[in-house]
Structures are given as C-alpha cells and as structure tokens.
C-alpha cells in the first residue's frame, strides 16, 4: 500500500516579501558600510549681478549672469581638473558646449604621490593604505543647479598597481575618498570665483 505524496504548504507571498526585504536591507547596510566614505556632496552658492548688496559685489562671492550658469560651471570644472592634471575620459568635451546637469564627468587615473598616501594614513588611521603599492585616483563628478546653488556630487575611486604592473586595479580595501577629492573641491570653488570675476565685467 503506497501513501500519496505529502504536499508541503507553499510559502506565503508575504513571508517571501519580508525575507526579500530583510536581505535587501542587509545588503544595503553592508554596501554602505564599505563605500560610505567615497562619495561627497557640496554646494557653492552663486548670486546674480543685480543682487549684490547695495549694488556692490564682494570678491568672495560667485556671481553669474542668468543663462551663463552651465558654461561657467563647465569652464570651472575643466580648469580645476586640468590644473590638477586630470584628463576627462567621459563625456567628450566640445569647446564652447556646457556639460549638462546631472551628467557624470569621469576623469582618467592620476598617480598619487607617496607623501599624499602618508598624509591619508596619518589622517585616517582606521583605513591605512599599504605602503608597498603605487596609487592613483579617478574622480567622478556631477552637478545640478538648485535655486542659486551648484550642487556637486563627487566620488573618488582609488586604484593601485605595482611598479611593473601592466594596469591599474581598483583598490578593494577601505579608504577615505574625501581626502583625495578635497584638493579638487578647493580648486573648483576657487575656479568658480575666478570665472565669476572673468564674466562679471565684459
């Protein structure tokens, strides 16, 4: 005499959904703990020429004419990256054309000196980079205009190689990406002010 095959109850859809949500939450937590220090956002406020206090404009303010925001910020980004020896891999830059808002600008990989690595390790002692490799950094940057502010989202990606390695390889350990972007942010803000000055008086 044979028994009919036992039918196990199918898991309920709600249980599966809860399980999936829990797994997603864990994944997000793990990922965010690994890469949380590589992304930085900052804003740069700008004003219109007519909005200077009492008609006078101070040198420390970014002043941009209406309609010139995209070209001004594009020029500032290109000048800042160029000053720090970064080339742009994407997008293709066309002279006289602005980089659109929310478009990710990706640079090439620029080697980092050993002094900078030592400074990073001194500053971020929980994320020490091994001293037996060469390092380079690639920057990713996008911006959007929110009211009278440039809102920048930046990410620095660290690469490493040996002295005889054929190529750069992304560094998988922990590091403080903001440390490597800080000089770019400072130069970018200065370049925005320079552009503002250059465009203030035709």
């Amino acid at each position: 005499m044979s028994h009919p095959p036992s039918k196990r109850p199918l898991p309920r859809v709600e249980s599966l959904a809860k399980l999936g949500f829990a797994a997603l939450a864990v994944a997000v937590l793990v990922l965010s703990s690994c890469a949380s220090t590589q992304v930085e956002t900052f804003t740069v406020e700008f004003q219109r020429p007519a909005m200077g206090a009492g008609g006078t404009q101070t040198a420390d303010v970014v002043i941009i004419r209406p309609g010139m925001e995209l070209l001004t910020v594009t020029t500032a980004i290109l000048n800042a990256l160029g000053q720090l020896s970064f080339g742009i891999e994407d997008p293709e830059i066309v002279p006289g054309e602005a980089i659109p808002e929310r478009h990710n600008v990706r640079t090439d990989i620029v080697p980092i000196g050993q002094e900078s690595i030592r400074a990073h390790n001194d500053q971020s002692q929980a994320m020490v980079l091994p001293a037996d490799a060469l390092y380079g950094v690639r920057l990713e940057l996008s911006y959007k205009i929110v009211r009278s502010e440039f809102y920048f989202v930046t990410r620095s990606v660290l690469y490493m190689r040996g002295s005889g390695s054929p190529t750069w390889r992304e560094y998988k350990g922990s590091y403080d990406g903001r440390f490597f972007f800080a000089p770019v942010r400072d130069v970018l803000i200065k370049r925005l002010k320079d552009e503002s000055d250059a465009r203030r008086d035709p």
């Binding site: 050993q114 001293a131 037996d132 490799a133 060469l134 490493m160 190689r161 040996g162 002295s163 005889g164 390695s165 054929p166 190529t167 390889r169």
Partner: protein, 145 residues
C-alpha cells in the same frame, strides 16, 4: 631515449624558470619598497608564457605517447644531431628567460613586466624555426628497432 629525456627536461625547466621569474616579481620590492607586481597581475603576466610553453610542451608530451614519423635510416651523425638539438633548444629558451627577467636585469627601467613577457613571446614566435625541426625529429620519430 636519453636524448629525449634531456630535451624534455630542458623544456620543462625553462618553463618552470619562466614562471618562477614572474612569480618572483610578486614577492620582491623595488628601491622605494613598492611591489613589482600585485597578486592580481599574476595571471595576466603569466598567460602569454603559459600559452607559449603550453603549445610546445603539450606537443612534446604527446609525442612521448604517439610517434607518427618513421626513424631516419642512419645514426652515423647522431651525436652531432643531439648536440645541435641541445644548442637550438637552449638558443630558443635562454633569450625567452632573459627577456622575461628584464625587470631584474635592467633594474626596473622597462615598460613593465607584461610588456617584457610579450617581447619574449614575440621572440619565441620569430625563433620557432630553431626548435620546430628538432622537436619533430627527437619527439616525433619512432625508435629504431
């Protein structure tokens, strides 16, 4: 039989030395304390050498089991042939190892380890005439009865 063993040993040793030289780049550091290769570079740098020696050694090992060609009728100049075979095999393999070891030889002034390995493989392709006939003769001939 002895000649085949010696030639096979030369090939296997050259292969082992080549792999060993590349492996050494993962463990030594230059004057600035920087590793020459990262562990992630290992396969990329070894692949051209593995392909090169894989082609030759697989042929040599296959001929140990399958010998398709008839033996030569005379063995009067066998000793000369063997010396010539050793010379050709060494003339083929020694430059390969020398080129793979360029980073050690020049103190790190080359274009990189992978570039050196590719140069070695290019040399091997150009100099394959040195070992092609020799390998066919020593590994492809049936033994005399």
């Amino acid at each position: 039989m002895k000649s085949r063993i010696i030639l096979t040993a030369i090939w296997l040793l050259a292969f082992a030395f080549g792999v060993g030289i590349i492996e050494s780049y993962l463990h030594i550091r230059d004057e600035q304390g920087i590793r020459i290769l990262l562990a992630e570079d290992r396969i990329a740098c070894m692949r051209p050498l593995l392909v090169l020696y894989g082609a030759y050694i697989s042929g040599i090992l296959a001929f140990w089991y399958l010998r398709p060609f008839r033996p030569s009728p005379s063995d009067k100049v066998e000793r000369v042939r063997f010396r010539l075979a050793i010379a050709c095999t060494l003339a083929f393999n020694a430059p390969i190892l020398y080129l793979v070891a360029q980073w050690h030889v020049t103190g790190g002034t080359t274009q990189g380890v992978l570039a050196d390995v590719r140069t070695a493989v290019t040399w091997a392709a150009l100099a394959s005439f040195l070992v092609g006939p020799v390998n066919l003769y020593y590994f492809g001939m049936k033994p005399r009865s």
